[in-house]
Amino acid sequence: MPLIELRKVSKRFGRLIVLRDLSLAIEEGQSIVIIGASGSGKSVMLKHIVGLLRPDSGEVWFDGARIDDLPEKKLSELRQNFGFLFQMGALFDSLTVADNVAFPLVEHTHKAPDEIARIVQEKLTMIGLPDAGPKMPGELSGGQKKRVALARAIALNPRVILYDEPTTGLDPIRSDVINELILKLQRELKITSITVTHDMQSAFKIADRIVMLHEGQLIFDGSPDEIRKTEHPIVKRFVMGEADEQELASLRMTTAATSARPSRPQRATPSR
């Protein structure tokens, strides 16, 4: 039985259809990467899994139980099973790093302050920032913020971690640090990972399985080796990072229009 299952999920915002009859099953312990162009519905899908969004039609299942129709209070309890690394970290600006990491422990558990402080230190050490506890998020670099957000996501030892574009905005070395951290958590804690990204290097490094979303539908589902060899034109272009003929044509039209525009007349020199 899959740990997480989406059954014919559809979602629209106003007139924009973001997900169309999307079905996906994710096994426990798997590291699945969801790729797709910006606006293809990746982050929306991730938010459906954790109940932040509810589908217009279709069902979301977790551990054999339907969760998309649960009341917010039940969902809140269920979310103890999930860690979520947000795209920009989403650290609380008004709290220190230690308080940020302690937050889910304070909200979800009745642990003593000493115990919480011990867990916070353990998690910060795990992500390689053992001395960051007293700092404010504003004092951290982009990569450090993501690592702290990761420490917060694993504070409750969740069964599933959802990563929303974990390497976006980071340089290649810091991206690799995040990738290594994801792999480390995968190996050491046996966590199910669901990663949304359009960084193919990162996808190849951390994925057991890659799926691709295009206009709210699944157009590819396979292993990293399979996606390298695929002949599906959209998937192939995405993996290779190549724009299609239509996009290039519109770019050429814009360039032609710019060069055809008459140059500004020179100002006459005022005679005295």
């Binding site: 600006d93 979800h108 917060r152």
Partner: protein, 274 residues
């Protein structure tokens, strides 16, 4: 053309009703959380920083506004009272205007600008940086965690700041009347005590509780529903101030009517100079 216009009107009406419905649900959720967990330590510990933000930091603004309003009232009413030789009775009119109407309304408007704007900007930024989603993922309802303490701080402190504004207004009026316009201090206070009753002071204070509630709810709601990016937050702040201001003015009208009828049904009609 005409059908398109009717369609547009219909769509706008629908959107306005949907937004109002959304706001009502937001208010309901705030009250449910307020009753169920508002007075637990988990929420109360979040209240103290908000009391500081809403209350302590607003003191100078409210003091200056209140003080100058009293002073202006004294200058403006002096000539009229002098022509009828009743300068000594100025105090009752100035004080009555300050504690019943101008003090509470202006204090609330200042708070809508200072506190309301800050609340919308803070929550709006949290919204666009996904911090509200992060709260939900980590088991903390954003309404309980963010709105309830801010709403409580506004409801508890707006009346206190209004009283402070009233005191500054009364003092400002007295200072200008007696120190600069030559009205004798003793008779001034005598007529203040005669013309202003506890009921009238309380009218302003009671109104201000509701003004505070409206400011808290509207500013938090605008922050929670703001559009994406810096422009979304900026627009939400403007809307928050404008809508809080309108809410204050409209509430003030209904309270003036309601409290007048209540007063007359209890005490009958009395004049200021009786």
């Amino acid at each position: 053309m005409a059908i398109a216009m009717i369609e547009q009107v219909g769509r706008n009406t629908n959107n306005a009703l949907a937004a109002f419905g959304d706001f009502c649900v937001f208010c309901y959720r705030t009250f449910v959380w307020l009753v169920t967990s508002g007075f637990r330590w988990k929420t109360l510990r979040l209240l103290f920083p908000q009391l500081y933000e809403v209350g302590v930091k607003s003191v100078p603004v409210v003091a200056v506004t209140g003080g100058f309003i009293g002073m202006v009232m004294a200058i403006e009413s002096y000539t009229t009272f002098r022509t009828i030789g009743q300068e000594e009775r100025m105090g009752s009119v100035i004080t009555l205007s300050v504690v019943k109407q101008i003090g509470p309304v202006l204090a609330a408007v200042m708070l809508a600008g200072r506190v309301g704007g800050a609340l919308t900007a803070e929550l709006g930024t949290m919204n666009v940086t996904e911090q509200l989603d992060a709260l939900r993922v980590m088991g903390a309802d954003p309404v309980r965690y963010l709105v309830v303490p801010r709403f409580l701080a506004c409801v508890l402190l707006t009346p206190i700041l209004t009283i402070y504004s009233d005191i500054m207004g009364v003092f400002g009026g007295w200072m200008i009347s007696t120190q600069f316009l030559g009205v004798p201090s003793g008779p001034y206070w005598f007529y203040v005590a005669k013309g202003v009753e506890t009921w009238q002071v309380m009218e302003g204070v009671i109104k201000s509780i509701f003004f505070g509630g409206a400011i808290g709810l509207i500013s938090c709601y605008k922050g929670f529903t703001c559009g994406s990016g810096a422009s979304g937050v900026g627009r939400a702040c403007t809307e928050s101030f404008v809508e809080s201001f309108i809410a204050i003015i409209v509430l003030n009208f209904f309270f003036a009517q309601f409290l007048r009828q209540l007063y007359e049904s209890i005490y009958g009609i009395r004049g200021v100079f009786d």
